[in-house]
């Protein structure tokens, strides 16, 4: 078929050109130095062994010269090692697996909606539409208080959910890593919408009887990207405290935040947010290097709060009936796109190979200087990372990012499947996604992972990890153990019920 062949051969040719270009630019220095060294070597060989010996004997060195030079060398080396940031390792992490009895099938959710909001059929229909297009599956979980008719979100129930989620994740983590609670140096707990007194971190310290001088922090109100903010805080603390470890607990407590009103823009979180939590152990000890799963390379945080529209796009407020809920504005996707652009503009130079950066620079200069009509070059992040964990905020978020970053279906598979199996678990969703990649046996030593989270504020935070050792399958103690074989599933555009 003649017409098709040129296209195919064209794309193949282009691919070869691209590969050649990348190899050239990325290994530029090597390619430059090799001929120079070869040249020197040839010259040296031409001189002959006697001449070289003569040269060597003619070099006069004083004692002082030798001492000063060696002292300089030692000084510079010491300065270099001291100013290097401490390496932060992720020893292991554990994800909360909700009990099966807390499962919420679509039909049950819709039935409850109809019974509770019986006077607002339009709102119920709206919820149904959202749920059908949400990308969630039939196995996501809601806490016990929300299963009641009508829901009963008391403070007691919220505390019980927090205990269930956080203690399960912590128990699993302590078990996996062999960590003793008394050995925890830093504890950071993040939960955006439930902030009791005493704090959730105090609750953890009380339950596990941690040391009196543990450094505890409780981050609340920071939205779905708080997980990476906690990691960033842990990393900074681990620079200050030598030979320490840090436990980070990321969760979102659903019980107190179930919106019981009828405003459509505030009903969406009810449909998407589900129970979940994760506990992560970070360490800067050299002894943990052998057994750690990942090494933290970078954390990049971007805040768009200075812009009013961005600040107000995810806003907790009372509706006209006085019921509290989270209002999602219509500009959410656009603002998320902007925040992402800012974040990758900062992240790009730090992670992209030189070939991509050069191309980006050339197109940028070209657009400014020559012709503004040149298409902006979107750097190929697939060259910088092997795996992507995009916060499973909703189907739209994943679709948007897949389009913007030109990712394949396999790259976003972890995010889509986490959304299907666990729903939007807020700050812990990144850890379920990472667990999926491990469970599928795709995580090999040296692989780089990019975790991106969006959150209210509006924030976009990224973390880059490098895999320290190949993860063997089957992963027995992960949340995907009993269902990874059923995935990936094909999620229809609209689920008909």
């Amino acid at each position: 078929m003649p017409p098709k062949l040129p296209e195919f051969s064209n794309s193949v040719k282009l691919k070869h050109v691209k590969l050649g270009y990348q190899y050239l630019v990325n290994h530029f220095l090597t390619l430059l130095l090799v001929p120079v060294i070869l040249g020197l070597l040839v010259q040296l060989l031409q001189l002959g062994p006697h001449e070289i010996l003569n040269l060597w004997n003619n070099l006069h060195f004083d004692l002082i010269q030798i001492l000063c030079s060696s002292f300089l060398i030692v000084f510079v080396t010491a300065l270099y090692f001291m100013s290097k940031p401490r390496l932060v390792y992720l020893v292991d992490y554990a994800c909360f697996k909700p009990p099966v009895a807390l499962r919420v099938p679509f039909s049950t959710f819709m039935e409850h909606s109809r019974i509770i909001l019986s006077s607002e059929p339009k709102s119920v229909d709206f919820q149904m539409k959202i749920l059908e297009r949400s990308g969630l599956g039939e196995e996501t979980s809601l806490p016990p208080a929300i299963h009641y008719i009508p829901p009963n979100p008391t403070m007691e129930a919220s505390r019980q959910e927090a205990e269930l989620v956080i203690f399960s994740a912590m128990d699993l983590l302590l078990n996996k890593t062999g960590l003793k609670p008394k050995d925890v140096d830093i504890l950071i707990v993040n939960c955006s919408l439930f902030s009791p007194t005493p704090s959730l971190s105090a609750m953890v310290i009380n339950k596990y009887k941690m040391r009196g001088n543990v450094k505890s922090f409780n981050l609340s109100g920071m939205g779905c990207s708080a997980g990476l903010i906690s990691i960033d805080l842990a990393r900074d603390l681990l620079q200050v405290y030598p030979k320490s470890n840090a436990v980070v607990v990321s969760t979102e407590i659903i019980t107190p935040n179930y919106y019981q009103g009828k405003e459509r823009s505030m009903l969406v979180p009810n449909c998407l947010f589900r129970m979940g939590g994760a506990a992560i152990l970070l360490s800067n000890r050299g002894s943990d290097r052998r057994r750690a799963k990942y090494r933290l390379l970078r954390v990049v945080r971007t805040h768009k709060g200075a812009d009013d529209t961005a600040y107000r796009c995810v806003f907790e407020q009372e509706d006209p009936q006085g019921k509290v809920g989270i209002l999602l504005s219509k500009d959410l996707m656009a603002i998320a796109g902007e925040a992402l652009k800012s974040n990758i503009t900062t992240l790009g130079p730090l992670v992209l190979p030189a070939s991509e950066q050069l191309l980006f620079l050339v197109t940028l200069i070209g657009r400014k200087v020559f012709n503004a009509k040149w298409k902006p070059y979107i750097p190929d992040f697939k060259l910088a990372f092997e795996h992507f964990c995009i916060h499973a905020g909703g189907r739209a978020v994943i679709d948007e990012l897949q389009r913007n970053l030109q990712l394949s279906a396999e790259h976003v598979e972890a995010s889509r499947m986490t959304l299907h199996r666990f729903g939007n678990t807020s700050s812990s969703s990144l850890w379920y996604e990472l667990s999926y990649i491990e469970a599928k046996g795709r995580m090999k030593k040296g692989d780089r992972v990019w975790q991106i989270a969006f959150g209210s504020g509006f924030k976009c935070n990224s973390a880059v990890w490098k895999c320290n050792k190949t993860i063997e399958t089957p992963v027995v103690d992960g949340p995907w153990f009993d269902c990874v074989d059923r995935y990936p599933v094909d999620i229809p555009e609209v689920v008909k019920h």
Partner: protein
């Protein structure tokens, strides 16, 4: 007096999702029971010093697991293209109500009456949009000083007393050992056996006519419920045997049904005049149709008992009553029931005014001898101490349900639940003929 306080209502779903797009059709015997619902209450003792609330949580989790094998129970009712009811297995779950009662279960059983017992079961009439209406309701009532009552209510469209008991037993097996001993069987009613069609066979018209009369003259949808009362009596093994010998009955059901027929007629005759009241019996036809006892669906068939006219207030009346019952039971064989099923398949266009099978002016005697309610053990060593069954709504002349007795009381011992108008129940409990067999009154009228 023990008081029941409501704690919460929630939905319990199965542990594994149901494959989407699954539907279950209802047979003709199911659909004819549309206007009825069942109520079952099982009472249990509990371990000394056990914390209140613990068993409820455990039962809720095991119910979730059990429901995975009963997608029909977690589905919702829908009308098919022929305007017949069917179930869409949409995984919506069953409703569960949790409650607490003061006192102990033994104390409760000593003082309970119909009104109080019905507080241990939760039932909701069908919603205007039945797609959001649960067909099953479970109530768990824990007694503060020890004991548990499990109340189950469900629409008669989907289950009959035999299979609802089997569901409870499956739930008990799952709680106890994790494995269901006899899993349910979901399939349509069997067709007529090919070799069974005798030449020149005439259909069993009396049974067909009985159903025809109910279908053609259904009572109005809003039936006025009169003030009924229920008494529970138990007959010892020996007494039942002597009754059976007296009337030459083959089964305890025949003997006790005849006994109650005569006694109730006496009670009513004192008001209405003489003679035996009209009576129908209702029996489980699984064995007759060759179905396994695990068959899930309706298999109870009603039939009128024909009694020659003639007033005789003596033992002959009793014997004659037993003979009439025996005759009807004998006629309800495989061919007769198949005739009914085939007739119903061609005459089931009663979508807008469904019949009420236990309505109108018949006393109904229901044979639940074979239900295995006392085998439902949720905790090791704790069998139910009492099992009560109600088939609601009760209209017409009344209802007599013949149930088995707890184990250890003898093979022939039976428990009988009688529902009549309040004053009639009182009179019945003092009836001379009945007292001749010295029943113990477990639950009476206060």
């Amino acid at each position: 007096m023990a008081q029941v306080s409501f704690i919460c209502k929630r939905t319990v779903v199965s542990t594994k999702p149901v494959q989407p797009g699954k539907y279950s059709s209802l047979s003709v015997l199911d659909r004819v029971m549309e206007r009825n619902h069942l109520l079952v209450v099982l009472y249990y003792r509990s371990k000394r010093g056990r914390e209140v609330g613990g068993i409820t949580k455990k039962l809720r989790e095991s119910l979730s697991e059990t429901l995975t094998s009963f997608p029909v129970a977690t589905g919702r009712l829908l009308k098919d293209p022929k305007e017949h009811w069917m179930i869409k297995c949409n995984d919506a779950g069953v409703r569960m109500v949790e409650a607490r009662a003061k006192g102990s279960v033994e104390e409760w059983l000593r003082n309970v009456d119909r009104e109080q017992e019905l507080k241990l079961v939760h039932w909701e009439e069908m919603f205007h949009k039945p797609y959001y209406w649960s067909t099953f309701y479970v109530q768990l009532t824990e007694f503060e000083e020890g004991g548990l009552a499990i109340g189950l209510s469900c629409t008669h469209l989907v289950v009959d007393p035999t299979c609802v008991t089997m569901f409870i037993k499956a739930w008990a097996d799952t709680t106890l050992g994790g494995k269901m001993v006899s899993p349910p069987l979901f399939h349509p009613l069997p067709p007529r056996r090919p070799g069974n069609m005798t030449i020149g066979h005439k259909p069993y018209t009396p049974l067909i006519n009985h159903y025809k009369s109910f279908i053609e003259n259904p009572p109005p949808l809003a039936v006025a419920l009169q003030r009924h009362s229920t008494a529970t009596l138990t007959f010892t093994d020996q007494m039942v045997k002597s009754c059976m010998d007296m009337v030459k009955a083959l089964t305890p059901f025949e003997a006790l049904a005849a006994l109650f027929w005569v006694c109730i007629s006496n009670v009513k005759a004192k008001k209405n005049g003489s003679g035996l009241t009209n009576m129908s019996i209702c029996s489980d036809m699984r064995k007759v149709l060759g179905l396994d006892k695990g068959f899930f669906g309706n298999c109870m068939v009603y039939n009128k008992v024909h009694m020659e006219l003639g007033v005789q207030e003596n033992d002959h009346q009793l014997i004659k009553a037993a003979m009439a019952i025996k005759e009807v039971v004998g006629e309800m064989d495989n061919e007769g029931i198949m005739d009914l099923i085939e007739w119903l398949e061609h005459n089931d266009n009663y979508q807008y005014s469904p019949p009420l099978m236990n309505g109108r002016d018949d006393l109904i005697c229901i044979n639940l001898e074979g239900v295995e309610s006392y085998m439902a053990m949720f905790e090791d060593g704790y069998k139910p101490i009492r099992a009560s069954y109600y088939i609601e709504p009760t209209v017409g002349e009344g209802q007599v349900i013949i149930l088995p007795s707890p184990a250890g009381e003898g093979v022939l011992s039976r428990v009988v639940m009688v529902t009549l108008l309040e004053d009639e129940v009182v009179k019945l409990c003092k009836d001379a003929l009945l007292m001749h067999f010295s029943p113990t009154i477990l639950m009476g009228v206060k």
